[in-house]
Amino acid sequence: MTRRDFIWKWSAYGVALLVTTVVQAYVLSRLPVLGVTAVLLPQAVAAMAVLEGPTSGAGLGVAAGVVSMSLFHGGPMAIVAYALIGLLVGLVTQYVLRQDFWGCVICTGVVLALRGACLVVPRYAAGVAPLPVLLRVAVPELVYSFLLTGLVYLLFRFVCHKFGRIALA
């Protein structure tokens, strides 16, 4: 890959991440289903990791973590968490599953479930609310977000075809 290809590739994926962020923050926030809104950043990181591998997935994870910390009130650990998601999803799809849509769907499902657990368990342990109340938020959020995985994957696959691994292969 030449330096120019590298710049084009990461700029294109940066734009894709920006689009994903804008849709999550300013479009989906106005379209709640059962009182909850969807998240798209985990799917974006998973799609990148599936299509480009663990290193690129971790790299986009760092960017997604910075976005999450800055715009969605996530803490600094969001950077590490998203980088880990990119790394692990890339490794799993490269060596265990397949680097295709179904690999992305399976990994995204697991990531969203883990994310839900990380949001529910501390709040339940701290006595913020009873478990059924927390699950009434976590489960619809997981399902709603999961249903949008395909759209995010298609966006990143488009970028991959034009500027990424598939284009450069």
Binding site: A25, G35, T55, V62, S70, H73, P76, L87, R123
Partner: protein, 278 residues
């Protein structure tokens, strides 16, 4: 093993950990988040533009599909304006009388010392786990953490909890992190207004630590008490919906409906400074 991680993103992971540590330490010690600041400044024009587009589309939808409903609402609002104009005339008389009485008692007038900063709500609760708004004013407009935010009718919307250069976030009155002193207007008793996660999903908040002999009725208005001088007193928070007993059966609490229309409020006013009145 070393080669495996070197070739598969191990270096990126190390960079991520270091970056998170630096940003975490910077934020904890110096209370500064330059990355949030930069990203917020860069995305503010997009946020404002998209907000304008979304509002335009929402208005178009309302015009196309809710015209009759809007016409009826318009008529109701016209009647209400007429009533309020009458009330305003009576209020002016009462204000004059009140001012004379205050002068007699030596009380200072409170509300005229509020310094407001008008702002627009650009993003609502971007996550499902908190009730937080983002507004388009920040430190450049002298907004500070802890400032109260009210709507155009003076109803409390929330409290500023994060400030950046040209944007801020406020936790609304129903957010689980909310905690401030409340006063029951009718009985003049004080209690504690708290956010509750389960009530937050219903758009309500909780009034706790009620005095034992207090008799509350549905509709009782709750204002800020100003105890502790952190927040101004007299800001309308909401009204009581119901009085319940907690799980232990030992104490009561009330569910409070916010007076501010949190679903639709667009223009808010940050109270940047106020004088404490005894």
């Amino acid at each position: 093993m070393k080669k495996f991680f070197r070739e598969n993103g191990g270096l990126i992971l190390i960079i991520a950990v270091l970056l998170a540590a630096v940003l975490g330490v910077t934020g904890a010690i110096f209370n500064v988040n330059p990355v949030s600041n930069i990203l917020g400044v860069l995305t503010t024009p997009f946020r404002d533009g998209l907000n304008a587009v979304a509002n335009w589309m929402e208005d178009g939808y309302n015009y196309a599909f809710r015209y009759e409903e809007l016409e009826e609402e318009n008529q109701r609002l016209r009647e209400r304006v007429a009533e309020l104009e009458q009330d305003a005339r009576e209020y002016e008389d009462a204000v004059s009388q009140n001012a004379r009485l205050r002068n007699l008692l030596g009380l200072q007038e409170r509300r005229f010392d509020f310094e407001f900063e008008e702002a627009t709500v650009t993003v609502r609760s971007s996550t499902n786990w908190e009730s937080v708004f983002t507004i388009n004013k920040g430190s450049s407009s002298q907004v500070e953490v802890g400032d109260c935010v009210v709507d155009e009718y003076g109803n409390l919307v929330g409290v500023i909890n994060e400030v950046q250069l040209n944007w801020s976030t406020l936790a609304t009155v129903v957010d689980a992190s909310t905690e401030l002193g409340g006063r029951i207007v009718r009985t003049d008793d004080t209690a504690v207004l708290e956010g509750d996660f389960s009530l937050m999903r219903q758009g309500l908040l909780r009034l706790s630590y009620l005095p034992e002999d207090t008799e509350l009725i549905s509709g009782d208005q709750i204002t800020t008490s100003g105890v502790g001088t952190r927040y101004p007193s007299g800001l309308v928070v909401g009204s009581i919906q119901s009085v319940l007993t907690d799980d232990s059966g030992l104490s009561r609490y009330a569910e409070v409906v916010p007076a501010a229309d949190l679903e639709n409020v667009k223009y808010v006013y940050v109270i940047k400074s106020f004088d404490v009145v005894e």
